[in-house]
Amino acid sequence: MKRNDFNSVKAYRIYAKYIEQVKETIARLDKDDMQDIMSEIDSHIYESFISNKKILSEEERMETVIRHLGNPESYLRPILAEKQLKYAINKYNLWGILKGFAALLLTGGQYVTITILYLLILSGGILTIAKIFYPDKTGLFIEDGNFVGLGYLSGINAETIELLGYWLIPISVVSCVIFYFFITFILKKIVTIKTKLNLRNRGI
């Protein structure tokens, strides 16, 4: 839309600010995809804007349209994640692929991510049990001042030193408890935000 499409300066400013937000959100996409998304959002805003023409003022109409669209980061996130993953696959860019998968997990699979984090807590429990049954092979190992490993090590050299001893057990237990409460707190936040969004969208 252009400045000429508006009678109200305020309505135009609301529109321009929102479009700027969209541009920033999709800045990492290639030119064609950027253009396509920008044009589609622009077209959507225009179609929504010209409906209800008789009922509301331009400013109110634009505010309603923008409010209904919502934060561009929220609704463009799944599209961005898919496009970025596609670019990375096309370029055989491993780092990009990993980032794309991570983004997709975050958009649609918060619970998958959370599940993996919960599974990590189990590893703390396993470490505690391993320390009881294999005290010499389980712990925090260093060699010549360098980190060798944390956990169960089968092949240990004479130079390898285990640092924590039986302190590993309380440290693991306390870490697991803290980690558990932290993840649960995050999960609760996600559920609260999702519920609020669902209510705001009045149905879907």
């Binding site: 839309m1 252009k2 396509d36 044009s39 589609e40 622009d42 077209s43 959507h44 225009y46 179609e47 929504s48 209904h68 669209l69 919502g70 929220s74 609704y75 799944p78 599209i79 898919e82 596609k86 669902n198 969208n201 009045r202 149905g203 879907i204």
Partner: protein, 115 residues
């Protein structure tokens, strides 16, 4: 507790059925995003947000179920029309068959419970 469960269930059901609804509407005519939202609201009463519809349309396009075409308008603001592909039609038929079967099975179960 009960109300919250029902509300969530309705939301999930609507989200699940939306791709089938979109494909069936595109079978009748090509549509652009805004009109699709309006038509869905008219036909089903579903109040769909843009944040829901566009990612689904993008997904359907990536999967080859729909194509899109920009068409210039007198207003100067072009519209992006979505068109159902043959692949999309096949998918719609499969989804519809499954949907009808589920409805039938659930109805049979509910009727059986009543008896």
């Amino acid at each position: 507790m009960g109300r919250k469960f029902i509300d969530n269930w309705i939301i999930q059901l609507k989200k699940t059925i939306l791709p089938l609804l979109i494909l069936s509407m595109l079978k009748q005519e090509r549509l652009y995003g805004y009109l699709l939202i309006v038509k869905i609201k008219e036909c089903t009463g579903f109040d769909i947000s843009e944040g829901t519809i566009y990612p689904i349309l993008n997904r359907l396009k990536e999967d080859g179920c729909v194509n899109s075409e920009w068409i210039e308008q007198k207003t100067g603001i072009p519209r992006k029309y979505y068109i159902l592909t043959q692949e999309g039609e096949k998918m719609m038929e499969e989804l519809n068959t499954y949907w009808q079967t589920i409805i039938q099975d659930i109805n049979n179960q509910i009727e059986y419970e009543k008896e």
